[in-house]
């Protein structure tokens, strides 16, 4: 098997306030889609920022991030710019992430023009991509300002702009969270289709387990700054390896069933710097926790083609399956 | 929906000025400024009696003599003790701005709240009107009015107040509009409380922290403007000891190498104005606007 396109190993990030990422490891092959799921404070956004070298100035990162074999942290100058055009990012709130006083065409072609592409050609390419994402009358749109477009259209513009430099990896940080459900479905469909067409790798951040499963081959689950499970998406929901994943899956209300009471996970999600230094961060809220869970550092166990950070994983096989009965 | 809304008693947001801990959250700078202001106010009231020496009779022999024992700031252009003149001068220097702020606030609040309450045509007219009247800078209006009504503090202060009204009204109108759209106002209306009562008993008190902050800032501006007008000879008239007047009458000393009287008066103005600016800005931050 060829080396992965993106390989994160042992990534630990600390801010003055505390540790935000603890020994995070991921890998992503070319053309593959990986979902990164977690609640607020789990560290998923911070992981993406670390990968794209957008960490805040006071952050200290250790560990390794390799893109196409090259260590990302060591890049600078033209190599860094080349990296940035090979790895594109789509952000959560398009209205905040697009300059409101510049036209759409200006926004879209900026990266290309910085590479030396002529303005006319850049605009032509931008127009073509707008059509691909389902925005008609591209020429008129390119002349408009962001406030003249709706949130859903702006997000499509952002996606189109990200694809202009023909990236091999797309990092999508909760791209549909700020949109309403119908628009969400449309944008997801566009993302999925474009990814397959271009053979592009996708790292898709979301707090919604099912959304990740919809377009990603594999899903990674984060809790309190650590990756607690990585598994094939189609089996993750019904056959999770980690109690947290099981609890997440069970907590989501299913429209086709009636339940007497919503299942919530007791307690509240911890952010990385609230996590205890030793033992599993989820232990206080876990119904299967034992003494061993609270003391030692928890290593990653490989099981059934997936990875999990749970010492009781083997013992709990079969008990974590979400039963509907 | 809050519990009180369900029980029918409207809960108005508490942005009233707290009496106890009125300076809470203003920081060291805010507290220091408040101390300076209180001191200045004290001197404004009692200055004339605190002054150790006579402040009126000229004594040409002593003109511009430098600091000697008992006269830490020396003598002014007419041989009078500078420190005494400064202490006595605090009164007109502070009363003028007080009047300006009071008048412009009174009228400005009325316009702002009435316009925010009625909305629609009334609001549009008032806003347009204010936009048009904004054309007059304060000092210009004061000069014009002293040309018509004669030089003196009252004419200048009233003119300045009129010039400040559009600014006050504009700032407060925005805040009043926001307040007016709060749910508790609708609750009160539904209960049959009259518009005037709602404005006076609820909206205005809830704007009080913003009003106090703006008043403090404007006091500083008014002080600068009035001192400038007195400096021009169009406001307070000599021989009244007023800081602006003192700067102008002792200006000739600067060129002769005796800068102390004029600069001492200038320093008084600056210190008090800075105090008002700093406190006003802190209060504004705290009021959350």
């Amino acid at each position: 098997m060829s080396s992965p396109l993106l390989e994160v190993s042992g990534l630990t990030v600390t801010l003055p306030a505390g540790t935000v990422l603890r020994d995070v490891s991921l890998s992503l092959g070319a053309g593959e889609a990986l979902g990164l799921v977690g609640e607020s404070g789990s560290g998923k956004s911070m992981t993406v920022k670390a990968i794209s070298r957008l960490l805040p100035p006071k952050a200290a990162a250790t560990g390794s991030i390799r893109f196409d074999g090259t260590e990302v942290g060591a890049l600078s100058g033209p190599a860094l710019r080349a990296f940035r055009s090979g790895v594109a990012m789509v952000f959560q709130d398009p209205r905040a992430h697009i300059n409101p006083v510049r036209r759409i065409g200006d926004f879209m072609t900026e990266a290309l023009r910085a590479q030396g592409v002529r303005r006319g050609e850049a605009l032509a390419r931008a127009g073509a991509l707008l059509s691909e994402v389902g925005i008609g009358d591209a020429a008129a749109r390119l002349r408009q300002f962001p406030h003249e477009l709706s949130g859903g259209m702006l997000q499509r513009v952002m996606i189109a702009a990200a694809l202009l430099t023909e990236p091999r990896l797309l990092l999508a940080d909760e791209p549909t969270t700020a949109l309403d459900v119908t628009t969400q479905a449309e944008v997801m469909a566009i993302l999925d289709e474009l990814r397959r067409e271009r053979g592009m790798a996708l790292l898709f951040i979301t707090h919604d387990l099912e959304l990740a499963a919809a377009i990603c081959d594999r899903t990674a689950v984060m809790y309190a700054g650590q990756v607690v499970e990585v598994r094939q998406s189609d089996v993750l929901h019904d056959d999770p390896l980690h109690p947290y994943t099981a609890a997440l899956a069970a907590a989501r209300p299913d429209i086709s069933r009636t339940e007497p009471r919503l299942r919530a996970i007791p307690g509240r999600p911890l952010s990385a710097f609230e996590a205890p230094p030793g033992g599993c961060a989820f232990a206080p809220r876990c119904e299967f926790a034992e003494e061993a869970c609270r003391t030692a550092a928890i290593p990653v166990t490989e099981l059934d083609g997936g990875l999990t950070r749970c010492v009781r994983a083997t013992a709990l096989r079969g008990q974590l399956a979400v039963t509907h009965g | 929906m809050t519990a009180s809304a369900l029980t029918g008693r409207p809960e108005s947001r508490s942005r009233r000025v707290p009496l106890a801990g009125a300076l809470r959250g203003t920081g060291v700078a805010g507290h220091a400024s408040a101390v300076i202001i209180v001191l200045a106010a004290f001197v404004a009231v009692f200055g004339r009696w605190l002054a150790p020496y006579d402040t009126v009779d000229p004594n040409p022999v002593l003109a511009f003599v430098g600091p000697v024992g008992g006269h830490p700031l020396g003598f002014d252009f007419e041989g009078r003790d500078v420190l005494s003149r400064l202490l006595a001068g605090a009164q007109t220097s502070m009363i003028g701005p007080l009047a300006v702020v009071a008048i412009s606030l009174l009228i400005g609040i009325a316009l702002a709240v009435a316009s925010a309450w009625r909305r629609g045509a009334v609001d549009a007219t008032v806003s347009a009107g204010l936009g048009i009247v904004f054309a007059f800078p304060g000092i210009l209006l004061a000069v014009l009015s002293t040309a018509v009504f004669g030089a003196g503090l009252p004419a200048a202060a009233i003119a300045l107040a009129v010039a400040y009204i559009p600014y006050v009204a504009r700032v407060l109108r925005g805040a009043a509009l926001k307040e007016r759209s709060q749910p508790y106002v609708a609750a009160l209306e539904v209960q049959g409380v009259s518009g005037a009562a709602i404005c006076v008993k609820h909206i205005i008190p809830n704007l009080s922290s913003l009003i106090v902050a703006q008043a403090t800032i404007m006091f500083g501006w008014a002080m600068v403007d009035l001192a400038a007008i007195s400096f021009l000879g169009l406001g307070v008239q000599a021989p009244t000891p007023d800081w602006g007047v003192m700067i102008s009458e002792n200006a000739v000393g600067i060129q002769q190498g005796y800068p102390l009287p004029a600069l001492a008066a200038g320093a008084c103005v600056i210190i008090v104005v800075i105090a008002f600016n700093v406190l006003g800005e802190r209060l504004l931050e705290r009021s959350g606007s």
């Binding site: 300059n99 | 048009i132 000069v143 018509v148 400096f231």
Partner: protein
């Protein structure tokens, strides 16, 4: 709303402002204590022929609004009346002084924009640095220093003590005038410069922290482009507004500075005329100054609309 409707609306407001201002200035004569005639003569005793001439010229026997109309008509034809004190045409008097005042205000405006914006940008792009801290301290103090006090300090230090600049007067010839007007321009600019520097610094810092700047960084846009096309371009909106407003306010404060430095300009003539109750001069100069003030405010509004497309075109999402 299209750009043209916006422009038309603003121009209409400009005309309305000028009309209202001219009306207020005109009414000054009427509301003065005593009769309009005594106001115009400033309480002086004049020969009967002069009095008759005044009455005729100001149409003092006609109804109020007709008087206003005649006066306005005269003004628009450049006829601002005669100075009681100087026995000269007001327009002639003003014309010779207008250049000095305009030059002084322009000089101060240049200082404010170049130094104020320059310092603000430099410290805003490097927050926490030594430049940033010094700018913060210096502006905190100087923002509160009124121009006439700054004038006194500048004269005391740079004119009397160090002798680098003349303490008063206009100067003759271009270079000499600039030398004479330097201290006054600085006095005029000091507090405005501090305000502009602070607002610029705050605006630059705020824009630098915005998410769309992050987007540009994530796409590998070179730093200098990020600064010019995203940070400064966006910060230009509040900066232009504040710079415009402070420059407009210079018009009124200019009178004080001219008096402090004994400069012959429109401002000092205005103050002199107010003391002399020479109403024709006061009215004439007030009109010009108010007109300048209103026009500058209009230019600021228009610049704002050009810089921020959300203003004119509205925020309708399609």
């Amino acid at each position: 709303m299209t750009r043209w409707r916006f422009l038309a609306r603003r121009l209409a407001m400009l005309v309305a402002s000028l009309l209202v201002a001219s009306f207020v200035i005109f009414s000054a004569v009427q509301v003065a204590p005593g009769s309009a005639l005594s106001a115009l003569t400033g309480g002086r005793a004049l020969p009967a022929a002069s009095v008759a001439a005044l009455s005729a010229r100001y149409h003092l026997n006609d109804p109020f609004f007709e008087q206003y109309w005649y006066w306005l008509d005269n003004v628009l034809h450049g006829n601002l009346g005669t100075s009681i004190e100087w026995r000269e045409n007001v327009t002639t008097l003003m014309r010779s002084l207008a250049g000095t005042t305009a030059g002084l205000v322009l000089y101060a405006a240049v200082i404010i924009v170049v130094l104020g914006v320059g310092l603000g940008v430099a410290s805003g792009l490097r927050p926490g640095g030594w430049l940033d801290s010094s700018v913060l301290v210096a502006t905190a103090v100087s923002a509160a220093v009124p121009s006439f006090i700054a004038a006194m300090v500048l004269i005391a230090v740079f004119a009397v003590q160090l002798g680098w600049f003349p303490p008063l007067g206009n100067g003759s010839g271009f270079g000499d005038t600039i030398w004479h007007l330097t201290l006054p321009a600085v006095a005029l600019a000091v507090s405005s410069l501090a305000i502009v520097a602070r607002v610029t610094r705050a605006a630059v810092r705020e824009e630098a922290g915005r998410e769309h700047v992050q987007t540009a960084v994530s796409r590998g846009i070179p730093y200098r482009h990020i600064v010019s096309r995203h940070i400064l371009r966006n910060a230009a909106i509040p900066i232009t507004t504040v710079a415009g407003i402070t420059i407009a306010s210079l018009i009124a404060v200019d009178a004080v500075v001219e008096t402090a430095f004994s400069i012959n300009g429109l401002g000092s003539l205005l103050v002199q005329a107010a003391e002399d109750k020479d109403l024709a001069v006061v009215q004439g100069i007030s009109l010009v100054l108010v007109a300048a003030f209103v026009v500058i405010n209009l230019v600021v509004d228009l610049l704002y609309a050009v810089l921020d497309p959300r203003v004119v075109l509205g925020t309708a999402a399609r």
